[in-house]
Amino acid sequence: MNFDPFVLPFLIGMIYLLIILSWRYFKWLDELKVSDRAKFIRGIFSLNFFKAIRDVFAESLFHRKVFKVNFFLGLMHMSLAFFWFLLIVVGSFESKLFSKYPFNAPYDPVFFRFFEHDFQNFGAHGWFTFFMDFFLLVLLIAVGLAVFKKVHSSFFGLKKATRHRFVDRLARIFLWLIFPLRWLAESATAGIHHNGGFLTQSTGNVMASFMNLWYFEYPLWWLYSSALGAFFVILPFSRYMHIPTEIILIFLRRFGIKNDKEIKGFANFEIQSCSSCGICISTCQMADAAGMHGQQAVYYLQKLRFKRNFEDPVFNCLMCGRCNFYCPVGIDIAHLRDLNRQKMMPTLKNDHSYLDKEVVVQVENPVRVVYFAGCMSHLRPGTTNAIINIFEKAGVDYVFADKDGSVCCGRPMSILGATEEAQGMIKKNTEIITSSGAKVLVTSCPICLKMFRENYDLPMHVIHHTEFLKMLVVTKRLKLKKTTESFVYHDPCELGRGLGEYKDARELLQYMGNPDRTSFKKKRSLCCGGSLANLRIRADQRQKITADAFEKLTRRNPDYLITACPRCEQTFSTVADRTVMDVAELVEMNMID
């Protein structure tokens, strides 16, 4: 068996890492719900197992999602991940093929060139050295790109890089040292024993020409082993924990295991899968437009993991969902933040007894459709008026539930973490809405819509007015003509990323014209900045976000900015230099007999 004391740092580091990982993973798997554990067992023996393997290749190795953000960023991460993977796999194969023994020491492939010098009877030697050197070359370029990224992060599509913890920066140094040290160590050996490939052999020859390789070879291998060992030891306490954890996360997701109501078990896999890549900073409008730092997902997860004060990231967030969409690991950050909000917001002593005492529900003849405008919509009478006029024209059998003023749906309270305290409002509104006898609840506010769907138990269809109006057009109860003005459509956060509804508004708009092309659409849409989810943000900070989003949306100079949320409509109108209106208002303008 090959052995030399210099393999010890690597070996000890590797064993240490495996113990820590096993300990953590078993603990977290143990925290899973019983039903999730059953899913896990079933999943291993299902087709999803292979789908998960495919996902691991696509995301952990090829970093497909990172390529979507920026080509060079993806290239850098992919080169490092995939080619290190190849180095390990092909190197293991090389080592086992050479020794004709399938079970050799774990460090044999790693330090292969040091131990094996004679390849006369190993025909594949040339192929292996070529590929191994090629992989090493790509890795060296990748490290070079990584160093370049530190100096010029904008080249990689990142407006501002993550502020890393000291431990993370130390771990990164170890990581960056591994491949250059491997290169130097293998080259030194190649210089002496001529067992190198196109890269290592040439380097070795150059080195031999001006230094005494017999002197330097051994220390270089010690350094290489130490760099690896150090990296393994520090990995579980650093951002690189994401390397093994992300893999497990992918499998769990494929097996159908999802977020739960507590931050343990599955959530721990998510939190420690964060690689601190910083994509969430670039895509966060609070950082980009308002220069606010420290609240972004990466910092929230960092603080959550290392038990620092994470109150600010939890509450000082628009909950727009953009970081969810852009995260290459697919962490459901919004859900984690929401869990923390429910946990951290103290029970607020409300007194909503007046709802029962003062609000007397009057039941009339049942109608087909109950329309609930919501608090925000009352500040946009253009929208509510338009909807009522459309209903009248199309002969809809409706009642305007909150014509004289709403009882709040409760989501503004719930989204701050006080869902329990909103029960009084939920009860009253349920009473009001169900007493209408309607089969369909139509609302013009996506915030209310999300609340009705997720926290209410209403015995009827609950839809947004864009879906209802589209239905009216499709069933020919409403006819629309084309408009001569140009417009761009803004997907509201709550309706789009929040509820997954993008099509109805667009299909409705298609009857009237073609919306301007914009890259900020559907899941990539911007937040207007007016989100109720953020309690702490200052007015001037919000204004920067709104102005920036407005400028980005109206680049093609449309006549109108159209949206489907009264909050977005009102927020944009405080900075707009052109008309901002709801889809319903455009429909009202273009109704024909």
Partner: protein, 113 residues
């Protein structure tokens, strides 16, 4: 030249006494959310308030009472707020009313006044 000891004291003095008014809560809240300081008491918030249709709730009054030290009145009103946010949306001075309401609600939940 004896001093005249005639006079009277007031049983329920109706005057605001700014010398003794307890501005402690107001000062603490203003540190966390400074925008309360620019309130001009126009009443736009109270006018649009969702709850004010059904019950007594006026952030304008809350803002004033905090400054005059009438904490009991503040406590009663604050409990009725539904946190809908309309007040914050119409305030001409950009006072972050909703945040202030949450801060006050938290204050009264945590410390028994």
């Amino acid at each position: 030249m004896a001093k005249n000891k005639f006079g009277f004291s007031i049983h329920h003095d109706r005057q605001h006494n700014l010398d003794t008014a307890d501005r402690n809560l107001y000062n603490r809240i203003a540190l966390v959310e400074p925008s309360i300081q620019r309130c001009i008491f126009c009443g736009g918030c109270a006018s649009t308030c969702t709850a004010s249709k059904f019950t007594d709730l006026s952030f304008r009054l809350v803002s004033l009472n905090l400054r005059r030290g009438y904490i009991d009145e503040v406590k009663e009103m604050v409990a009725r707020c539904m946190l809908c946010g309309k007040c914050t949306m119409v305030c001409p001075r950009d006072v972050n009313i909703r945040h202030l309401m949450v801060l006050l609600k938290k204050e009264f939940s945590e410390n028994e006044f």
